[in-house]
């Protein structure tokens, strides 16, 4: 049976290639039909803010690629409640359908995956 992998993305969207390179791990795994989950934590939740204009800083549309995750079979998408709250982001204003988890639920989430990568 395939090992499940949780990818925790902690970087803001335009802070260099980290957000995209975390997403690429998820998309590659999805292409191989691996059981994956993706958690947006700390500044990673800024990737989910609506109405961003990446073209202004000559960046590609990360939100569009994030929205492709379910098409690649990655449907388990999560965001940390505390990270959203600290940053003034409302759960119902996000650009991606994610499950919002409190700290205890985050611990339980990490627990149920076989492997974790946090970038």
């Amino acid at each position: 049976m395939a090992k499940s992998l949780l990818i925790i993305s902690r970087q803001a969207p335009w802070a260099g290639p980290s957000a995209r390179e975390a997403l690429d791990i998820a998309l590659a795994g999805g292409a191989f039909d691996l059981p994956l989950g993706m958690l947006f934590l700390d500044d990673g939740v800024f990737q989910l803010a609506s109405g961003q204009q990446p073209a202004q800083v000559q960046q590609k549309n990360l939100a569009a690629n994030l929205q492709a995750l379910p098409m690649f079979g990655v449907e388990e998408l999560f965001a940390a409640a505390s990270s959203l709250h600290e940053r003034g982001l409302a759960a119902d204003s996000l650009s991606l359908p994610v499950q919002v988890l409190d700290d205890a639920a985050l611990a339980a989430l990490i627990d149920r995956f076989d492997q974790v990568v946090t970038l």
């Binding site: 290639p17 980290s18 970038l119």
Partner: protein, 130 residues
């Protein structure tokens, strides 16, 4: 036990050296390393062009020697490498770039190799960030 070790930082970062020490200890402990995967700035740990000051530890050279001596499967992520200017002969030719800085024993491949290594290992351990 089987380890897949992923390195996310360049040769001059403490975490690259730490990854190497961990890998050495894993083999010394009788374990197997099924894959080494170099991603993000970890591609620079594979650069043949790193010139460490004479009185400093040459982590890039130590990685090369370790991988060759132990005949380990060492993969550098091609997308991450291209973006950062780490090219083997084939890619330098393809993109008409003036320099080749990724020789053997390194192989350029995709993220599928990270997943394959993780799937076949008992533990996936990542090093990077600092």
């Amino acid at each position: 036990m089987k380890f897949a070790i992923a390195v996310f930082s360049p040769a001059h970062a403490p975490s690259s050296r730490r990854a190497l020490r961990f890998a050495q200890a894993a083999l010394a402990g009788g374990h197997e390393i099924v894959r080494l995967f170099f991603y993000q700035d970890g591609v620079h740990s594979a650069s043949a062009n790193v010139v460490a000051p004479q009185d400093e530890v040459d982590v890039a050279a130590q990685w090369r020697a370790f991988i060759s001596e132990q005949q380990l499967d060492a993969v550098v992520c091609i997308a991450a490498a291209l973006r950062r200017g780490v090219l083997n002969a084939e890619e330098a030719q393809r993109y008409q770039r003036p320099a080749v800085n990724l020789p053997a024993p390194w192989e350029l491949s995709g993220l599928g190799q990270l997943h394959e290594g993780a799937q076949s290992a008992d533990r996936l351990i990542c090093f990077g960030g600092d």
